[in-house]
């Protein structure tokens, strides 16, 4: 359905937007610049320890301990990187588990967040309570009770149990993030969609979801970060065969973390930065 729009008449006297007072524009620039700087200071501060990790991936200790700077070498970046096949496998496990757990937690959490934000219903208080309780419970309690649960049910410990545990603690984080977004949803837009003949699923897909999308995405990112770095709960429910990246690292720290770990960390970080840059470049090409 197309609507023809007449372009506004062009000419020296007719402009589509009223001009802003120049004084306000100048102040905005200074404030903006400060904010920009501030943001980048925070980003750099967050990445500071990573700089140390990158540095030590080039360190050349003679023994197994990598705590003091000795000298520069590239040798860990070559074939020596795969000296520890169990490390590579652990990393792969973490990523797979992270992706699956994030997907599940995001879907379940989005629904809960939507329900809590959009609707008023009985049991809302109780649901809120459960969400808050889920994030305030110490991980050690979560982990140990889940282990007991799985053992009693004779569930074999491994990938499945890890994913179950990760979803359990990620769901609430997603729910709360989506909820804060869903609270500001304008119900009239959805009503308008329904008035135009859209069914409930279409309304959700084409109207609601795009509106809460930033919340969903933020929740998913949180969930992934939580899952990929989780140690305590995973240690409880991983069983005797499956290793994840944090578990492996912890096991290796007793021997002294080999530089390969720093190399892997650097690669992960660099891959992330690359993705970020690609995304940035791509979005610049897109019309703003």
């Amino acid at each position: 359905m197309s609507v023809s729009v007449q372009a506004p008449p062009e000419g020296p006297g007719l402009r589509p937007e009223p001009p802003r007072p120049p004084r306000r524009r100048r102040r905005k620039r200074v404030g903006d610049r400060l904010l920009f700087l501030y943001t980048w200071v925070v980003i750099v501060w967050l990445a500071l320890p990573i700089a140390a990790v990158v540095l030590f991936s080039f360190n050349n200790p003679r023994g197994r301990f990598n705590y003091t700077w000795v000298g520069f070498t590239l040798k860990w970046w070559g074939p020596k990187l795969f000296e520890y096949p169990s490390l590579t496998k652990a990393m792969a496990n973490s990523i797979v588990i992270g992706v699956i757990a994030t997907l599940l937690a995001t879907i379940l959490g989005t629904f809960i967040g939507l329900a809590l934000g959009k609707y008023r219903f009985r049991g809302q208080g109780a649901t809120n309570l459960v969400q808050f309780a889920a994030i305030s419970a110490p991980e050690i309690v979560l982990g140990s009770s889940l282990l007991t649960f799985f053992i009693t049910l004779r569930l074999p410990l491994g990938y499945i149990t890890i994913i179950i545990a990760h979803v359990a603690f990620c769901v609430s984080f997603v729910a709360i993030t989506v909820r804060s977004r869903a609270l500001t949803l304008d119900p009239y837009i959805e009503e308008a969609a329904r008035d135009l003949g859209a069914g409930p699923w279409d309304t959700f897909r084409l109207v609601t979801l795009p509106m809460i999308w930033p919340g969903v995405l933020a929740g998913a990112l949180l969930a992934f970060a939580l899952s990929i770095d989780d140690f305590i709960t995973t240690n409880f429910v991983a069983g005797l065969q499956v290793q994840t990246y944090p578990l492996w690292i912890w096991g290796a720290t007793k021997e002294g973390l080999p530089p390969q770990v720093d190399v892997m960390g650097t690669i992960i970080f660099a891959a992330g930065v690359l993705i970020a840059i690609t995304n940035a470049v791509r979005s610049r090409r897109r019309p703003a």
Partner: protein
Amino acid sequence: MRRLRSTLVPYLLILPGGLWLVVFFAAPLIFLISMSTQTGDVVSGFTQNFNWHNYVTGFSDYHSQFIRSLLYGGLATVLCIVLSYPTAYWIAFRGGARKSTYLFLILLPFFVSFVLRTISWQYILGDNGLILEPLKSLGIVSQNFRVLATGTAVVGGLTYNYLPFMVLPIYVALERIDFRVVEAAYDLYANRVQAFTKVILPLSLPGVFAGVLLNFVPAASDYVNAAVLGGPNNTMIGNIIQDEYLSLQNYPIGAALSFTLMAILLIGIFVYARALGTEQVLEAGAA
């Protein structure tokens, strides 16, 4: 029919996730509460005798750690707000098409293992390390000054580790704000400060609230930062709970302490929500 369907919708929405949490969280939690009133030990067994004394003992022995945890958690949360709000503001309003890129950059360090990050901080913050060495040689701080093994380091660590949990919710709330509302404020002769305090800030409060929630609660229950970066006098209640469970195998006391911590945090959250009047602000903003 339509009315019935719309009444059912919220329940259907929370069903899958809710079920998951009931089975894999609420049930174990009830077990936890039950454990907190038992007595005994691992080898000879535990018996349920509704021993509420566990709560009394737990609280009286460790009240200073409780207070310290709330203090550290609170400080870390405030610092996080200070650091996150401007950042989230800039990304939401000035980030343009690269918003998700910036968010991703903020989360990126957390994909590199916690262990690596913490080792690095220990390295960076050492008494004669990258930061303190030049400061000491310039005489800006005394030779005995140290950051590690102090409460400052612990709060710093908490702030660092939970920052994304504040940035993301605030960003989410800010991004939702329709800038035309702000422009309307300008048109009504509000200056920038007024536009911020009277329009943007209240609209972003749900995000701040969510951030405080996702931040204060885990930070107050944290124990890793205290153990790595803190000294013997900086232990938090999380460390005590760890020890009770694992070293002392005193599960009833550990469970009692856990539940007390959760209760304190939950009460705090509800008081905060009430004080903020979050719900009313939102309803007004959404209209």
